[in-house]
């Protein structure tokens, strides 16, 4: 199976120079890194902060590559688990062997701990910074949380600017020419404007439109963007869910999405096989979702709203960690058939029930028996013998939609006879 690489990965900056803008941040960061490599850092840790998609992680990765350093990323399930931080700390504190490569310790999105963390996690990070023999880099969108104060005090704080529209357009243009797609300048500007400086979301939008339509025009962008306002929220939430690296991210993806959790369940139900293709992953994800559904049912039945966290845990982390290995997954936007489908199945069931109600008293049997034992044979008559079917329809006073449902492919013919006979 050929896997299309998400452009956000494919076009990730390879060199520091490729990181768009952020000259001040680059300079400060590189100086700090150099002081580490020379062995005398002013501060042992750096805290990179700025809005989403402005290049924090990209800069760390590019700088590591240029300096031949290995990035050891916090890939445990959660910052809150002290022992995970301690495990990283152990690696960090180990003396570098003569031949091994140097390392950068990267703790991504440390503000994720701020909302819920116990003191333990912050202490563990402080301990890590104290004992490390390698540069420790942390990233955050919002570093000003009270809980992060002890970390701020021991870190070099490096602010990143929000990217300007121009910056985003430049990056998008580069991708367009590399991908050889036709891109309208105005369209790119529109994407950039709507991204509000988030290059990652801009690139994802670009890819969604380009792959969906083969070209990128202003009209498409506008169409896609109105989409985004109304219906893009679940897409965004799904992307966050399936790409969550940590439990808290997966939980936030469902509990803080811009759509209610029942709609979210419908979206997850639709897209588990979109994001996963290994049968084990699919099964585990559905099992978790089905458990969430069971909890939700119990809540509705008993009013026990205290069970809601379990719903989120099953449909969020439960689904996200069904994967066997973490890999960034990015999928083209597609809304679920479910809502449409639900209406259809519901209608279909109502019609079947209506037919059973019409026939059961005449046949002296239960509606249930009519549905299971009689309707299958009537369907055959309706499909195979439209003329006769129309006469039966008159005999039982069936409504036109019942006739349509019974006759399936022959509906038009049966209805023609039916209308003629009825006169």
């Amino acid at each position: 199976m050929t896997k299309k690489l998400p452009w956000i990965i494919k076009y990730r900056p390879k060199k520091v120079a490729d990181v768009i803008n952020q000259n001040q941040a680059k300079k400060t960061f590189l100086q700090w890194l150099e002081s580490w490599l020379k062995g005398k850092p002013s501060k042992k840790a750096a805290l990179l902060y700025g809005p989403a998609g402005c290049g924090k992680t990209s800069l760390v990765e590019a700088a590591a590559r240029e300096n031949g350093l290995e990035v050891v990323e916090m890939n445990a399930s959660d910052f809150r688990r002290k022992q995970d931080i301690e495990r990283i700390a152990k690696i960090a504190a180990t003396q570098r062997s003569l031949f091994a490569r140097g390392k950068i310790i990267l703790l991504d999105e440390v503000d994720g701990i701020s909302g819920m963390a116990d003191r333990g996690a912050v202490d563990a990070i402080l301990h890590l910074i104290e004992t490390t023999r390698y540069p420790v880099v942390m990233t955050a969108n919002n570093p000003w949380d009270q809980k992060l104060r002890p970390i701020r005090e021991v870190s070099l704080i490096i602010p990143f600017k929000r990217l300007s529209e121009r910056d985003v357009v430049i990056a998008l243009k580069r991708i367009c020419s590399a991908e050889k797609i036709e891109c309208d300048e105005k369209a790119l500007k529109e994407i950039a404007k709507r991204s509000e400086g988030d290059l990652r979301s801009a690139v994802n939008d670009l890819q969604a439109i380009a792959e969906g339509y083969g070209k990128v025009t202003l009209e498409l962008v506008r169409m896609f963007s109105t989409y985004r306002n109304r219906q893009y929220a679940p897409f965004e939430a799904l992307k966050n869910l399936f790409n969550a690296k940590y439990v808290f991210q997966a939980k936030n993806a469902v509990s803080q999405a811009d759509i209610d959790y029942e709609t979210m369940m419908i979206w997850i139900n639709e897209h588990i096989p979109t994001y996963y293709d290994d049968p084990e992953e699919i099964w585990r994800a559905y099992e978790a979702l089905a458990r969430a559904d069971v909890y939700l049912g119990r809540i509705k039945k008993t009013g026990a709203w205290s069970l809601l966290p379990y719903v989120f845990e099953m449909m969020g982390p439960g689904v996200a960690f069904a994967r066997k290995i973490y890999r960034y997954r990015w999928k083209v936007f597609r809304s679920p058939q479910r809502l449409h489908l639900l209406a259809q199945t519901k209608r279909s069931r109502e019609i079947r029930e209506g037919i059973a109600r019409a026939l059961a008293p005449a046949l002296l049997t239960s509606r249930h028996k009519v549905k299971t034992d009689v309707i299958p044979f009537i369907k055959i008559i309706f499909e195979k013998n439209p003329k006769y079917a129309a006469r039966l329809a008159i005999g039982y006073g069936l409504a036109e939609e019942m006739i349509k449902w019974l006759a399936g492919p022959s509906a038009r013919e049966v209805l023609q006879y039916f209308r003629r006979y009825k006169k």
Binding site: N269, L289, S348, I380, Y421
Partner: protein
């Protein structure tokens, strides 16, 4: 209006159903006992037991017809335990019905409760009290496939009538007669095939005959074709798709089933359950047990009100995973 009446057609199971006890050709012993009740204009509570399609409900209607005449249905409350929502609904309907006037020459009205063996024993206890409460003005006719599922105190209050499976020659004679009335061409072997396929269930036999006749001459092939069409193998296909590891296609099949046949999640899981132990599903027996257990769990969740699609998808995903393990 007149042309409409000429054109209107009924299902043969209704059209050719006996209207009075005299028209019933089999169950002779039962019929003669029932005729006695008509003569005496009195009867006890009755329990009709026997396999489906042997004429229990028809006999009850014929009895009422012979007691009250053409408009008998106004003196009979018809309930079906599998359609009514619990004993409370039944109780209030009986109460309401008992309040209405009784016919001049017969001192009671009839409550007909079909598929009574589908009631829980608690509901049956409540039913027993109902029978006692209104015994002055009403008689109950209870109908059941399995008399053993009716609680002892009810059985002891009823005259029990055991309906036996219809004889092959009786079924075929009836089918022949209907076919002749309808001027349908048929092979005699085809009628035998219908008897075999309907397992002595008259209503089912007539339904098969009518559907086969709608296609053309009633031949053995036509009969098998009709029965095949009536019970599509789509559920089995869905299971096999999942077991071959193709979750997405199995899911599409599920959606089709629910739309085209108007099946609920519970309908689907019940049909799945019927297929699990079929030899058409080629998996080792120990997996059948695992899958049956899972199906039971899913059915329970659905009965409790869980989401049809999510739960069934979870079920299919598990099958796909099992299928993959079996292949490796």
């Amino acid at each position: 209006m007149s042309s409409r009446q000429v054109l209107a057609e009924l299902l043969w199971a209704e059209k050719y159903r006996p209207r009075s006890l005299d028209e019933i050709v089999d169950q002779e012993e039962i019929v003669s006992r029932l005729k006695k009740f008509v003569q005496e204009k009195n009867m006890p509570h009755l329990l009709f037991a026997g396999p489906p399609g042997t004429g229990k409900t028809t006999a009850a209607h014929c009895l009422a017809h012979d007691l009250y005449g053409e408009n008998y249905r106004q003196y009979m409350l018809e309930l079906n335990a599998s359609d009514e929502r619990g004993i409370d609904v039944i109780r209030s309907k009986v109460k309401e019905f008992a309040r209405t006037r009784i016919p001049g020459n017969i001192p009671f009205k009839i409550v007909l409760l079909d598929e009574a063996d589908n009631m829980t024993s608690d509901a049956q206890q409540a039913l027993r009290r109902l029978m006692e409460m209104y015994t002055a003005t009403t008689r109950f006719i209870l109908i059941a496939n399995y008399p053993s599922k009716i609680i002892e105190p009810i059985q002891s209050r009823c005259a029990v009538f055991r309906f036996t499976p219809l004889k092959k020659e009786d079924v075929i004679a009836r089918l022949k007669w209907i076919a002749d009335q309808e001027k349908v061409e048929y092979d005699i072997e085809a009628l035998e095939a219908i008897y075999e396929l309907s397992e002595g269930d008259m209503r089912r036999a007539i339904n098969i005959l009518q559907a086969a006749a709608a296609i053309g001459k009633v031949t053995v092939d036509a009969v098998y074709k009709v029965v095949g069409l009536a019970h599509p193998r789509e559920v089995r296909q869905m299971i096999n798709l999942a077991l071959s590891g193709n979750f997405t296609e199995a899911r599409n099949k599920l959606r089709q089933l629910m739309i085209n046949y108007g099946l609920s999640g519970v309908d689907v899981i019940k049909q799945i359950h019927r297929e699990i132990f079929s030899q058409e599903i080629k998996i080792p027996d120990e997996y059948r047990i695992i899958i049956a257990d899972l199906a039971g769990e899913i059915q329970f969740r659905l009965v409790e009100g869980a989401d049809d699609e999510i739960q069934l998808n979870a079920f299919l995903a598990r099958l796909a995973f099992i299928g993959k393990k079996l292949k490796v």
